[in-house]
Each structure stands twice: as structure tokens, then as C-alpha cells.
């Protein structure tokens, strides 16, 4: 599968501090991914779970995975086959925005979709 990091760049979902539940404000962006996958049955997605720096390192790795899994559960409930959605946690090691304030943190607590297309 070939990864495409740009296709869903506008569909990144954000989380509250220390939470792995999907907020109502984020579901529209995820629904777009669901519709895309339903229209492209050979494509799949990798869901990256990320955290801000305000958790400890091992905790954040598990929290990031929990966030990615929450997004995957949402996709599966919407009808996407489970085997078409992979999860990977990066904890706090790949922040989207540098900085040590809420403006940066709120952008770093996120679930990112990477489109996977057949080679």
C-alpha cells in the first residue's frame, strides 16, 4: 500500500486534554473519510494517534493509541471494514506545532488519517 499524507490533511480530528473520546465537533471530518472509503473499496487508512507534551512518555504512547482506536471504532460503526483501518500511536514524539502553550497543545492532541492505496 502506498501512503498519501495529503489526501485527508483537512480531516484531522482533535481531542480534549487527556481524553480519547471523539467530540461532536470532529465527527463531520471523520464522516468525510467514511464516505471516501465507501466509494473506494480497495483503499484503506492508517490512523495516527498523537498527544500533547503534558503527559508522561509511556502514558502518552498508550493514550495516542487509544485515540487512534477510538477513531477506528467510529469508522467501523459507520460501516468501514475493520481490516481497512490500521492504528499507530506516536505519543508526543511527532507534534504538529512546536511550542509549550495551549495553542500548540490543542493542535497536537489529534488523530491523523493517512490514505493507503494499492501499489
Amino acid at each position: 500500500m502506498t501512503p498519501d499524507h495529503n489526501r485527508f490533511a483537512a480531516n484531522t480530528g482533535y481531542f480534549d486534554f487527556d481524553r480519547a473520546t471523539i467530540k461532536p465537533s470532529e465527527t463531520g471530518k471523520i464522516d468525510e473519510v467514511v464516505r471516501y472509503l465507501q466509494g473506494s473499496p480497495t483503499h484503506a487508512v492508517q490512523i495516527e494517534g498523537h498527544c500533547d507534551e503534558r503527559g508522561t512518555e509511556q502514558y502518552n504512547l498508550s493514550l495516542g493509541e487509544r485515540r487512534a482506536l477510538a477513531v477506528r471504532e467510529y469508522l467501523v460503526r459507520a460501516g468501514v471494514q475493520a481490516e481497512r483501518a490500521f492504528t499507530i500511536s506516536y505519543g508526543e514524539s511527532r507534534p504538529a506545532v512546536p511550542g509549550h502553550n495551549e495553542a500548540a497543545w490543542s493542535k497536537n492532541r489529534r488523530g491523523v488519517f493517512v490514505l493507503l492505496t494499492p501499489k
Binding site: 508522561t56 509511556q58 502514558y59 504512547l61 498508550s62 492504528t87 500511536s89 514524539s93
Partner: protein, 390 residues
């Protein structure tokens, strides 16, 4: 684990006279509960040393409950030289007795100084010194991180991995030069086991999703780890060959940081099972998980069980991160210092941990009873996730 160097370090003890037991204060210090904070540092003087040997002796003693001071204020006097070999004579200033007289040959001056400081610590306190122990830690540069090993004070650091990706969560197998860690080299966080002696490694856990937090049991025969293949990050245990994998938790919430009791029967970890991060314990053979009381501390993660079985050190988030200890059976926690990700030394007294300084992480040592802190020699980059070879 003792320092195993390529060279042969020989110690010639000329004279070891203990006319009477060590000073009462030293004995008291040895016996106090380590959470009894504000313990008095033992004043000791160093005469005749220079340069690296002086710095090494001072560092080793300062972080193990001593205070290097002038001879007029010292309870113990150390005199010697570092011309070609390191020599040392330890005297009880009040009793005027010689407790130790030794010459160390065959190593580097630094290793000989560590050997002398270990002998001093053992002679005065009855505890094993930690100056010849090893640590492992993660070094982050840019987006990637690699695993390093070093002497306990950060010197002689050597890079173990060259994966050019995220490599993290190092953990020593007790009494062996073997590390477990997580690497994203194959595109997923997988656990590897790496033999430092032979330089070979193999994939240990490569399940779908998260494979992280590997913690070998005290006898090295089993491994606790975090896997998310069941739909949520849970604690699992398996044999050292990867077989007999068994989940110990089945929560919907995230678990992390398993560690073992020294008898190998219980695993302590962090979970959000009851809404906030807290410490839990579970039998290594399975059964229900039980909350470990940490009265006074919320948001607890990263537990590490002391080798003597008495204490669990952990990180709490209370605005900033703070290192705390709690009795292993649970109870009132004692906050120690600002920092995170603590790990015990083999002496069940010193803790290695991470501090955040100006957006970077540095690894530091903490002498728990006296709260003395010293940064180890830093490897260039952001250093974190320290663990101690035992």
C-alpha cells in the same frame, strides 16, 4: 549489575582495619526508612586528588548520601593520589582508625575512582555502591530517537540502535547485558530484544497496533508488555521466548508502564480505568486488578518497584510533573522533586529520572533520603526514559 569492563580491574587492599563498628550516625543513616526525608548528609573530605578523579569521587559521594567538605568539618577523611593509579585511605576522623587502604590498578583513572568510591560507600554505610553500574536511556534528536547505554553518571555513553526512526522504552534484563525496547523500524511500534554482548537482536512482539513498555521479570523468564491488539492498550505477560501470551487487563481505557515486584508475583502499572490515571496492581498469573492507594496523589503514571520490594516510585501530574514514592502496599505518598519517569538503582535508594529544561529533557540522579540531585553527563540531544541495570 556490576560494571563488566573489557579490562581487568585489580584491587589490592593493603590494609583494612576496622577497630570498631562504623560511626553510629552512619549506621542510623543506613537503617532509616528511605522516605524519611531530610536525612543528614555524611561529611567527608577528599585530599590529594585532582582533575577527573577528584570530580568523579565528588560526584559519586555527593549522590550517595555524603557531602564532600573540608577536613575540619568531615566525619570521614579520604586521602590518596591519582598519579598513575588511584590510591585511597579512609579514616574515621573522630576514632582515628583506618577503615580502608587500597590501590586500584589496571583500569582508567575514572573506573579506578569509581571502584574507590564504591569501597568507601560500602565500608561506611554497609550498602553496595552504585558507581560501577550501567544505565540505558533514549536520546531524541529531531523527529527520531535512539537507545544509548552509559555508566550510571552518563559517561562512556554508547549508541545501541541506529534505526533512524522512533526507538524508545529501553528496559534491562536483570543481571544480563540484554535490553528490550520499542522501535518503529518496520513501520509499527514493535518490541525488540537486543543482546549487547553479541550485538544481535530479534523482533520480540510484532502484533497489530501498539507493542510497547516491555518489562522483563526479575528472573528474566517472563516479560510484561503493553499491546493494543485486543482493541485497547492492555497489560499482557508472556514467556521470554514470546510464548504463553496472556492478557492481565481487559479495560477499554489505556494502560501503560508495567513493572514487577522483586518476587516476580505482582505487576504494578498505570491505568485510567476509574476515570483518572492511577496505579493498579495485578497478579502476574492473572486475576482482577486492584487500585494501589496513593493518598494525596492524582494522575499517577510510570511506577517502578524498588529492588528491596518496599517502595514504588512514580510520576504524578499536579500542574507539573513530580516524582513521588509510596509504600509498595499503598498508603500516603511522599512527593520528592519535580521530574518524571523515575527508575530505581540497585541500591533501592538512588533514583534516575527525567527533567524538562527549556523544552529539552535531561536525565538526573536523585538521592531519595537527602534529596540531592545531580544531572548525569548529557549526550547531545534530548535525553529521557532512563532505566538502571540491576
Amino acid at each position: 549489575m556490576k560494571h563488566k569492563s573489557a579490562f581487568l580491574l585489580t584491587c589490592v587492599v593493603f590494609l583494612s582495619v576496622t577497630a570498631r563498628p562504623p560511626e553510629t550516625v552512619a549506621q542510623d543513616d543506613h537503617e532509616i526508612d528511605i522516605t524519611h526525608l531530610g536525612a543528614r548528609r555524611i561529611p567527608i573530605s577528599l585530599e590529594g586528588y585532582t582533575g577527573e578523579v577528584l570530580d568523579t569521587l565528588r560526584f559519586d559521594l555527593d549522590i550517595q548520601g555524603f557531602e564532600v567538605t573540608g577536613a575540619d568539618k568531615a566525619q570521614y577523611l579520604v586521602s590518596g593520589s591519582n598519579n598513575s593509579d588511584v590510591t585511597g585511605r579512609l579514616t574515621d576522623r573522630v576514632g582515628k582508625t583506618t577503615l580502608l587502604s587500597a590501590r586500584y590498578t589496571g583500569g582508567t583513572l575514572r573506573s579506578e575512582a569509581h571502584t574507590l568510591s564504591d569501597a568507601i560507600v560500602e565500608k561506611i554505610t554497609g550498602r553496595n555502591g552504585i558507581a560501577r553500574t550501567k544505565i540505558a536511556f533514549k536520546v531524541e534528536t529531531g523527529q527520531n530517537s535512539e537507545i544509548y547505554v552509559a555508566d550510571y553518571d552518563g559517561h562512556n555513553a554508547k549508541q545501541v540502535t541506529q534505526d533512524h526512526t522512533i526507538t524508545r522504552d529501553p528496559a534491562w534484563v536483570p543481571a544480563r547485558r540484554v535490553l528490550y525496547y520499542t522501535s518503529y523500524k518496520a513501520g509499527n511500534p514493535d518490541i525488540y530484544v537486543h543482546d549487547l554482548q553479541s550485538g544481535t537482536r530479534r523482533a520480540f512482539a510484532r502484533y497489530p497496533g501498539l507493542n510497547a513498555g516491555a518489562a522483563p521479570s526479575p528472573d528474566g523468564r517472563r516479560v510484561a508488555l503493553v499491546l493494543s491488539k485486543g482493541g485497547s492498550p492492555d497489560i499482557y505477560v508472556c514467556d521470554a521466548d514470546g510464548s504463553n501470551l496472556k492478557p492481565l487487563t481487559r479495560t477499554r481505557e489505556a494502560e501503560s508502564s508495567p513493572c514487577w515486584s522483586p518476587d516476580g508475583r505482582t505487576i504494578c502499572f498505570s491505568s485510567r480505568h476509574e476515570g483518572k490515571s492511577a496505579l493498579f496492581v495485578v497478579s502476574a498469573d492473572g486475576g482482577s486488578m486492584r487500585r494501589l492507594s496513593t493518598a494525596g496523589a492524582l494522575n499517577c503514571t510510570e511506577p517502578d518497584w524498588s529492588p528491596d520490594g518496599k517502595q514504588i516510585v512514580f510520576t504524578r501530574l499536579a500542574g507539573d510533573f513530580e516524582i513521588c514514592v509510596v509504600p509498595a502496599g499503598g498508603g500516603a505518598m511522599t512527593p520528592l522533586v519535580a521530574g518524571e519517569d523515575p527508575a530505581w538503582a540497585p541500591n533501592s535508594r538512588t533514583v534516575i529520572f527525567t527533567r524538562r529544561v527549556k523544552g529539552k529533557r535531561v536525565v538526573s540522579l536523585l538521592d531519595v533520603p537527602t534529596k540531592q540531585i545531580k544531572d548525569i553527563q548529557q549526550t547531545s540531544g534530548s535525553c529521557s526514559q532512563p532505566c538502571w541495570a540491576k
